[in-house]
Symmetry: C2
Subunit: 346 residues, 2 copies
DNA sequence: CTGTTAGCGCTTTCAA
DNA sequence: TTGAAAGCGCTAACAG
């Protein structure tokens, strides 16, 4: 593999000159030599090493992207947003699957530090505060989504406003005549789980439904978890007629479990999810859900992060914030409670 | 951020010594100094720069992973396999979404080259031969899955044996009494699409079903594509009673379209997919499908690639090959053709 | 407009 | 058992 030196001799100029035309600093380069250099670069099929360049300029143009489970299609759209914002600026992305495992996350964070990524984007991955402090300690900015810890400098925080979407969902359900609700939350140690639950309860209260009318059970954001939670929920004497799951995967699990318990959907049970991942629309009945602006989240996370890079000292100064919102998408998994569905099992 | 030199002076030794203990070459280091160095490394919270190291040893321990669309949960499992094989060996992964766009793929490949990845894993992404030749030209080994081009040196090829899974699916369908089949293929310019189709047709032929009894239509591996294809297919006078889609996403699209056309599933139409992505099991009815060993594919791809790295000259010598197989998973989207379903629209 | 020179942070002979 | 020194491939003053 040729180096810049090879190109230099081949073109009969110095390394610096080659470097200059390569990095677009040809403000003061004689067109003729510029052409000559470019020609030999072409002919030698030369591609400058970004690792050498990284070492020299102390910037790698790489970003670490941490997700809990890339199998959740939610992340796919977020990643598209990230790529669209960063690829054209020359960034590449390291993907890390934490698998909800703090230890694995720690290892990943360390490897990202070793690789001197310019920044990291952490997406709802149960980011222990440890990771973040490790990063800021090493002077690496990060972009986090729905984060509850104190916003330290060098952080960009994207917050999701769940209110509009969840409120609309609740009003829809209440308007349909539902009175007995249930919520399957995400892991309670995740801030975003507590947040979703609180907004749901508030919206319900605003509609005159007391918290005593809503059963709450903790899930884990997985289909299986939703299924288990539903199993527990639907066996109760006072079975709810509507359930709101903290994400679509759990909602999908709820539908499966309800069906295997012999319930008709949506007559016997209305279910709404959150995320609007693509499988939601393909369920039978199609799942009503609170849509997240997935692409936007990714795009913003990356954009703001790059904005941070512009600052003289990225890891100090005000943290950057951005807000995105949600909306309810009504599909067919919600309907009025049937006479048979109110309080007894069929 | 401290450098190895800082550590050296702090520990009162030379850079070389620090380097040696850091890289585990303490075969000939006095235990005392070793301890001392490790202690100061700890206390300074020093993490050696992998980019500097990469430049020095001419190996980056990074792999580029190219997928067509990370939104397909299929890739998630493959990526888990890749990570499990490579993470512990110190590799990190650059993710690239080609989005089925050859031009974008080309850009990604070039950026991977610039970053001097040690290898790339290309997963069914409509890898134009161009990419591969570019890579091999630059001396970068690659791992490809279901590749039809001549196996050039420096390549590891994972081939999927579709025969067992598809054959079982076909026998199941034929056993159920189906006579009119349809196939929704992937993009025909993809080798794997042609392969799946051929195996399907062969299996059918082996069961005495002539190709004239099977309608074939080209899809694009997306839900929407499956839907469109089904729309066309199901309007025909001679409507098939069973359709085999080349992947689960298209099969899911088929189910949706069939339903919106007023057909009952599986009574009026049996559908089987391929991949066994998680949403398949959550459909109503649950989708029968030909399962791919997704995790295994990723694991093998990475393992073999590392095996290639061991060779004196990775980009020459015999290409490495590995084979994985498929199996049929019967769920509820397949049933015998009903009297009403044979040849007329309801 | 272009070349010289000194790094960037680590590894690795070669000597001692 | 350890240190000195020369790179790895590129960039960036500083001269000229």
């Amino acid at each position: 593999m040729p180096t810049i030196a090879d190109v230099a001799v081949a073109a009969g100029v110095s390394k610096s000159t080659v470097s200059r035309v390569l990095s677009g600093h040809f403000s003061h380069i004689k067109p003729a030599t510029r052409e000559k250099v470019m020609a030999t670069v072409e002919s030698m099929n030369f591609r400058p090493s970004r690792v050498a360049r990284s070492l020299s300029v102390r910037k790698t143009y790489t970003i670490g992207v941490l997700v809990s489970d890339i199998g959740n299609p939610f992340y796919a759209d977020v990643i598209h947003g990230i790529e669209d914002a960063g690829l054209s600026k020359g960034y590449s992305f390291f993907l890390g699957n934490t698998g909800f495992d703090p230890r694995r996350g720690m290892d990943l964070v360390n490897s990202l530090i070793d690789r001197r990524v310019d920044g990291v984007i952490s997406l709802f991955s149960r980011a222990s505060e440890d990771w973040m402090s490790l990063l800021s300690q090493q002077g690496i900015p990060a972009s986090v989504v729905n984060w509850d810890f104190s916003l330290t400098p060098g952080l960009v925080s994207i917050s999701v406003d769940f209110e509009p979407g969840i409120k609309a969902a609740v009003e829809h359900l209440v308007g349909l005549g539902h009175k007995h609700f249930a919520h399957i939350s995400g892991p309670v140690d995740l801030f975003t789980s507590r947040q979703r639950q609180a907004v749901f309860l508030d919206a319900l209260a605003a509609c005159g439904i007391p918290a005593s009318n809503v059963a709450i059970i903790e899930g884990d954001f997985s289909v299986e978890g939703g299924r288990r939670a539903a199993g527990e929920l639907l066996k109760r004497r006072d079975r709810p007629t509507a359930v709101f799951a903290a994400n679509d995967q759990m909602a999908i699990g709820v539908m499966a479990e309800a069906r295997s318990l012999g319930l008709e959907l949506p007559e016997d049970l209305s279910v709404v999810g959150l995320d609007d991942i693509w499988p939601a629309a393909q369920m039978e009945p199609p799942l009503s859900t609170v849509a997240m602006p997935r692409y936007e989240i990714g795009f913003q996370a990356m954009e703001r992060l790059m904005e941070l890079f512009q600052r003289e000292d990225p890891v100090s100064g005000e943290p950057l914030e951005a807000q995105v919102t949600t909306r309810f998408i009504q599909r067919a998994s919600t309907a009025g409670p049937s006479h048979r569905g109110t309080a007894t099992k069929r």
